[in-house]
């Protein structure tokens, strides 16, 4: 086996090690900390590059999957086995994650320059990168789950990085808890899978849980509603994926997560972590697509249908809500939600390659957009409300250019921008989907909206004249790094250390799409494992759809331009153009369909009520009953005693005493004494044993 495969563990180990060392450093060693993090990231980037090249040299076919498994520890008579795998999926993800993390690290050097906790920041970042890479290379669902949880933890820590700001703390908590809900289902699915197959390794020379033998065993039995076991497991695991990558019911944490530093939003909540959910589904795709019939590529199993519908709904929802946001980062967050929906949809309708292609391209242009937004925020001294920006083009040309590239890529501007190719792939697959065509229309409408809100945002931010002067100075974003430093300045371009990554990312955002164009589907074939060949004939099949989607994009751009650019936005406090047209709908969208409110009103409230009811029962009903009973007996005893001592001679006194003592004993039931409670336990034990013996008798 090759060196790189044997030592693939170094890729996650290096950043984790760096994080561990940085954790010991003080704030005055910030330079050392940053350089450590960047150096470790660079090394693991080189390693993953090596792995990628090695895989390329290896050629195609199923031979392009190398696995290293080892025993972790034994419990009972079984060994828990972990391992890592190197296959095209892993290689591509590794390359993407390491590269973007590297750029983001470099960017954060500039962004967090004035923060007083930057060493802590880099420690968390490095830890996150390591855990994420662990998720990518894991060959065991258990290992993947562990790294997955560490990723969740670091995301929590980083969202709440400015814990002094209560909003950030709340957002961190929210993110953590919501993702836990998904992870619970994930864990259940994992346990079920283990119970069924007896292994959690993905690939184990034919014995892994993703390989034919296990899958055939899984699809053999069916559970409730006639679902196959594989479907049940897949759906449970999909819940975890949905939690991580903000699919519809569990998306609520992602927009709030924007309280964190912007590099974090770029790295974790746009490029890598939220993509982990998609990656997970892509990884267990054989399980999702397993069907009673032998396993062709695109059988729309129930699991895949669920994935598709959820993805489509999320895509539409996210782009709808993004239309009506004013916070620059929230817009991007909702667009991320919708794009993740696209990925899921792609996985559902088009298989691994389609979804992964969009994942990769999206990772680049979305992190580009976030970093650009960060640069804007940095330049505007912590301002995040796009209504208070405007006219920034003159002040920060580089940012504008790169941001425009990212924006066009996200809209899917035809031919030259990566987003176009990947999104078109998904739409095409959805069009060809055998089950239903609704997802296609949802996705198409989502594409239109995407173009629209991105144009809106761009116009708000860069076009027109600056609206900062006229507004009363709002309190800068709580505890923001740059917030308190450069207040009074006019907007300024960011330092080179921040703009350089932007330029690099912009280049990728533009040209990355070409590796997956229908004419030369290199990426898909690389994932699929057959040679890629260049034929422009492929265009003919997809041409009408391409034209259609391009038209949609142009329509969206035109609408945006019409509403927001033809008539300049002069006044910061002026109502939004769309709001003028349709205020009610706008407010509904602006509040994200009130889903947060809904959750607060239902789940949270219900929980509190339940707790209160339990408390009330305990306080009044139970103890009340006990007390009432004891008082009753006491009263009886007292009555008896009274009557007796008054009327009859003292001969009965003893009896009364016993009765009253009985009352006192009963009142010990609630005596607040440990020992009386213990006595009750003892009595219960006696009764129990008696009953059991009786049962044994009969």
């Amino acid at each position: 086996m090759d060196w790189i495969v044997q030592h693939l563990w170094l890729v996650p180990a290096l950043p984790i090690l760096a994080g561990g060392i940085i954790a010991l450093l003080k704030q005055r060693h910030r330079v050392l900390a940053a350089s450590l993090a960047i150096a470790s990231m660079f090394l693991s980037f080189l390693l993953s590059l090596g792995a990628f090249v090695h895989l390329l040299s290896l050629g195609h076919g199923d031979g392009a999957r190398m696995v290293v498994n080892f025993n972790w520890f034994q419990f009972g008579s079984e060994w828990v086995r972990l391992g890592w795998v190197l296959d095209p999926l892993t290689a591509v993800m590794l390359l993407m994650v390491t590269f973007i993390s590297l750029l983001v690290f470099i960017y954060s050097v500039g962004y967090m320059a004035e923060d007083e906790n930057s060493t802590r920041f880099f420690c968390f970042l490095a830890l996150f990168a390591g855990a994420m890479l662990g998720v990518v290379i894991a060959n065991s669902l258990l290992l993947l789950f562990m790294c997955w949880e560490v990723v969740g933890l670091t995301s929590y820590l980083l969202i709440g990085f400015w814990y002094a700001n209560p909003k950030a703390a709340a957002a961190a908590k929210k993110a953590f808890i919501v993702t836990r809900i998904g992870d619970l289902a994930f864990f259940l699915g994992m346990a079920w899978l283990y119970a069924q197959t007896g292994t959690l390794l993905f690939f184990d020379g034919g014995a892994g849980c993703l390989e034919r033998s296990a899958l055939t065993a899984l699809v053999a039995h069916t559970t409730i509603f006639g679902l196959t076991v594989s479907t049940g497991i897949g759906l449970l695991i999909f819940c975890g994926a949905a939690g991580k990558s903000g699919q519809l019911p569990l998306h609520v944490w992602l927009p709030d997560a924007m309280e964190g530093p912007t590099p974090v939003s770029a790295l974790i909540h746009a490029a890598t972590m939220v993509a982990a959910g998609v990656f997970l589904i892509a990884r267990i795709y054989p399980l999702m697509s397993a069907d009673i019939a032998s396993l062709p590529a695109l059988t729309p199993t129930v699991a895949l249908q669920v994935v598709t519908w959820v993805g489509a709904a999320t895509a539409l929802f996210g782009s709808l809500v993004a239309v009506a946001q004013f916070d620059i980062k929230r817009i991007l967050a909702y667009s991320t939600v919708s794009q993740l929906g696209y990925m899921m949809m792609g996985l559902g309708v088009g298989g691994v390659s389609v979804g992964m292609f969009h994942l990769i391209t999206h990772a680049f242009f979305k992190s580009l957009l976030f970093l650009g937004a960060g640069s804007v925020i940095h330049g505007c001294s912590g301002e995040q409300d796009i209504r208070r920006m405007g006219g920034l083009r003159k002040f920060m040309p580089i940012t504008f250019a790169t941001y425009a590239c990212g924006m066009l890529a996200l809209c899917g501007f035809p031919l030259f921008f990566s987003g176009f190719w990947s999104k078109d792939e998904i739409l095409h697959a959805a069009f060809a989907w055998s089950v239903s065509r609704t997802p296609f229309f949802m996705g198409a409408f989502g594409a239109l909206l995407t173009a629209f809100y991105m144009t809106r945002q761009l116009c708000y931010m860069f076009a027109g004249s600056s609206r900062r002067a006229q507004i009363s100075p709002m309190p800068a974003h709580g505890g923001h790094a740059a917030g308190d430093i450069c207040h009074a300045h006019s907007p300024h371009e960011s330092p080179a250390v921040m703009t350089a990554p932007l330029v690099i990312l912009a280049a990728f955002a533009v040209f990355l799409g070409l590796i997956g164009a229908p004419s030369w589907p290199w990426f898909q074939s690389f994932l699929g494992g057959e040679p890629a060949l260049l034929n422009f004939g492929a265009f003919s099949g997809v041409l009408p759809l391409m034209v259609a989607s391009s038209l949609l994009v142009f329509l969206g751009l035109g609408l945006g331009w019409l509403l927001y650019h033809r008539k300049r936005i002069e006044d910061a406090d002026a109502r939004d153009a769309l709001e003028k047209i349709q205020p009610d709908a706008f407010s509904v969208l602006g509040h994200a369909f009130y889903i947060d409110k809904l959750y607060d009103a239902t789940i949270v409230r219900f929980n509190a009520a339940l707790a209160y009811i339990c408390d009330w029962l305990d306080r009044w009903v139970w103890s009340g009953a006990v007390q009432a009973f004891s008082y009753l007996v006491l009263a009886l005893a007292w009555l008896d005693n009274f009557f007796d001592s008054k009327v009859v001679n003292a001969g009965f006194d003893a009896g009364c005493h016993t009765v009253s003592r009985g009352g006192r004993l009963l009142s010990f039931l609630q005596g607040g004494r440990v020992q009386s409670y213990l006595k009750m336990i003892g009595l219960a034990l006696i009764v129990l044993v008696m009953l059991m013996l009786w049962g044994a008798r009969a």
Binding site: F73, Q74, F75, G76, Q675, K679, G682, L685, I686, L693
Partner: protein
Amino acid sequence: MTAFFLIVAALTIAGTAAAMSLRNPIHCILALTLSLVGFAALYLQLGAQFVGFTQVLVYVGAVAILAVFAIMMTRSANPPEGQSHQAAFSSSWLTGGAIAAVIFAVLAWCILSKSTPMQTAIQQPDVSVNQIGDALMHKFALPLEIVGVLLTAALIGAVILAMPERRKTL
């Protein structure tokens, strides 16, 4: 039913009874150590050498000393003249004793009424420490880890509990 067993059993019972009945807490602890050593001797007689010595090491060496320290710190040994003649037993000791007695009766009845499955040829199983270590490292690795975590948590918890709590400054 060897004489050794009878002697040790008698000693253990005596120690336990004394530990639960003596008035002075320190005397109780000393009696307790007697009964714990008796337990250890019983383990040894049953051929569980490791457990027996661990028992002495942990209970006599740690738990008893810990209890003594607790008694010293709570000044419940030789109380001052004020309530020196306070009852050692709780006011409702009768019911407690009765319940315990009934439980013993029930248990004894269960034991004597049922004939437990016995291994046919009772040979002294000599279990070497190596076997125990091997089992701990392989078959019982997970419980071992869990116990380690538990002990760590207990350590931290005990320290925090015993720390003099300072009033809230924030």
